[in-house]
Amino acid sequence: MKQDADVLIPGGGLNGPALALALARAGLTVTVVDAQPPRARADVAFDGRAYALAIASRRLLSAIGIWDKVAPHSQPILQIKASDGRPGEGASPFFLTFDAAEIEEGPMGFMVEDRHLYAAFLEAMEQTPGLTHIPATAVTAQQPTETGITVTLSDGRHLRAKVLVGCDGRTSGTAERAGISRTGWSYGQTAIVCAVDHDLPHNGTAQQFFMPSGPLAILPLPGNRSSIVWSETDDTARTIVALDDDAFLAALRPRFGDHLGAIRLAGPRFTYPLSLTLANSYTAPRVALVGDAAHGVHPIAGQGLNLGLRDVAALAQVLVEAERRGEDIGTADVLDRYQSWRRFDSTALALGMDAVNRLFSNDNPLLRIGRDLGMGVVDALPGLRRRFIRQAAGLNEDKARLLQGLPL
């Protein structure tokens, strides 16, 4: 049966293009179908949305030829401070500091604005042979067969591929049409995202304050500018977002503290209701799910994109290896390898972040003291536990070539 592409990817956000580039650079043909129109190019104005890229994610961007375009606009994270806090009191004296000087890899991560990352993906997709980008078009139906999957687009076209990879977010239509159910719950919290200009330099320090109503992250952007991810209960968030700029800043200041001097808003405010949503399977016949479509996590510590890129690295490697040994890349044999590689890791991380958020979104004084003293344990335990379990399972996401910065 003639295929239009080896792999069809609904979803043009960040995971979709990343997977498409990884696959196309390895010789597969890929079509990205994006329901959204392409956002304006690199000249788009600063809007404050940004990502904290882990080192492994940065390596993946290098391996798919994106990092060089993004690097000039990135801010290295040289230090991370995490502490317990209450509005007006500032940070508790028991805070954890992680310094880039302690590890050999250099910076602990990089802050990259959405506008630069997206523009780099858009440009790379246009220039990569074997990759077709269909914007402003939705997938309306999908029909798996023995040998492939046929997809109907909103313009009436039918496309055939060997495998369909849903990178279409936490309300994934790909998952829904495949009959994959979801498990999850709302946190009753909303994240308010914005950027601020400040008078004093941040010196590459990222801060995370655990407030009773939800965490507040202050993440360094290039220049004297930081990205804020401020989580509040839904009701409070609604009230805060409705405030005018001056009143909004007045509400933010006591939480933000004065360590960076005077602050001013540097762009619009965005709100994201927080919820956990896990797909009950990462695969279905001729279908795989990546990123939020598989696991929409609490955005604490900014793990959403990093987790998605780990899926990208694993799935790209599984599909390319299968292609090179002559397997049909859309069969259950092949897709199961991706699911068993990724599912344990991302579910553990999602539930771990859920637990951390529950522990810290609480104003019980005993818990507060326990939190302050136990902070190091909370931080160290999930890592230790995961390392132990992964070792036992013989699994390690670092095995993924793309996360080591290697081509497929």
């Binding site: 040998t147 002559g326 044999d333 013989g394």
Partner: protein, 253 residues
């Protein structure tokens, strides 16, 4: 004995063995069905096969149809678990099986995949007698089922062109392989029907190298295939040839 009476006079196929496989011939392509063990092992086998062929014939697996122009014989092709990948990589494939029932199953599946594969109910000896020649012979998990391994390998030699490559895998014969392949796979896990394998027909790596030499082929590589019960997957090993292992050999003359 009945078995002796029904044995063909010249062919290497042990008909009692063939009958056992005929009973198992359904569900070839269900990864969770009867042939789950083969499906689990297939990526590991294919990694070895594709890399050996690519190295021997100077092919780049990163490109499309890397095996274009190569003629490959898959002996004991079953449902086509190896023939199809080879065809997808561009090779001209002849899948031969001594069990007639496997042939239509394999043909149907390949057609649905849009793959052209010449599946035949024929023995290696008959192919050699017809003067067929191949660049590559896949001789995977077959030799422990044939009646006369030395003669069978000589036939494989005759079927290869000069410079041709034979990949041959089988099971080692020791206490561990008895525990793993007979007790574990057949009695405990019930992955394979009881009686699938006759442990006394297993061959040690050194014996196999000796047989390959004796058939006029030059053995150039051997690796273990090791099952990891935690990750539930197979991988290649340089050192552990204690149960499943695979070899590569070349016809020089």
């Amino acid at each position: 004995m009945t078995q002796t009476q029904t044995r063909p006079a010249t062919g290497s196929i042990d008909e009692a063995e063939v009958a056992k496989f005929q009973a198992m011939a359904a569900e070839w392509w269900d990864p969770n069905g009867k042939f789950r063990p083969l499906h689990l092992m297939n990526p590991c086998r294919l990694d070895y096969i594709t890399r050996q062929i690519a190295a021997e014939f100077g092919r780049d697996l990163r490109g499309p149809r890397a095996f274009e122009g190569l003629r490959i014989l898959d002996i004991g092709c079953g449902g086509g678990l190896l023939s199809e990948p080879m065809a997808r990589l561009g090779a001209t494939v002849l899948g031969a099986d001594a069990a007639a029932r496997n042939i239509p199953v394999a043909r149907l599946h390949a057609e649905a995949q849009g793959l052209e594969i010449d599946y035949r109910h024929i023995t290696a000896e008959a192919l050699a007698a017809e003067g067929e020649r191949f660049d590559v012979i896949l001789n995977m998990e077959v030799i422990e089922h044939v009646f006369n391994p030395p003669e069978f390998l000589k036939t494989c030699h005759d079927l290869l062109v000069t410079g041709g490559l034979m990949i041959c895998s089988t099971l080692n014969r020791n206490a561990k392989s008895f525990m793993m392949a007979i007790v574990g796979a057949e009695w405990v896990m019930r992955w394979l029907p009881k009686g699938t394998h006759d442990w006394s027909k297993f061959i040690t790596p050194d014996e196999l190298y000796g047989l390959i030499h004796g058939a006029g082929l030059d053995p150039v590589d051997r690796k273990g295939m090791v099952f990891n019960p935690v990750t539930w997957s197979w991988s290649l090993s340089d050192r552990d040839l204690s149960v499943n292992y695979v070899t590569a050999s070349i016809r020089r003359d």
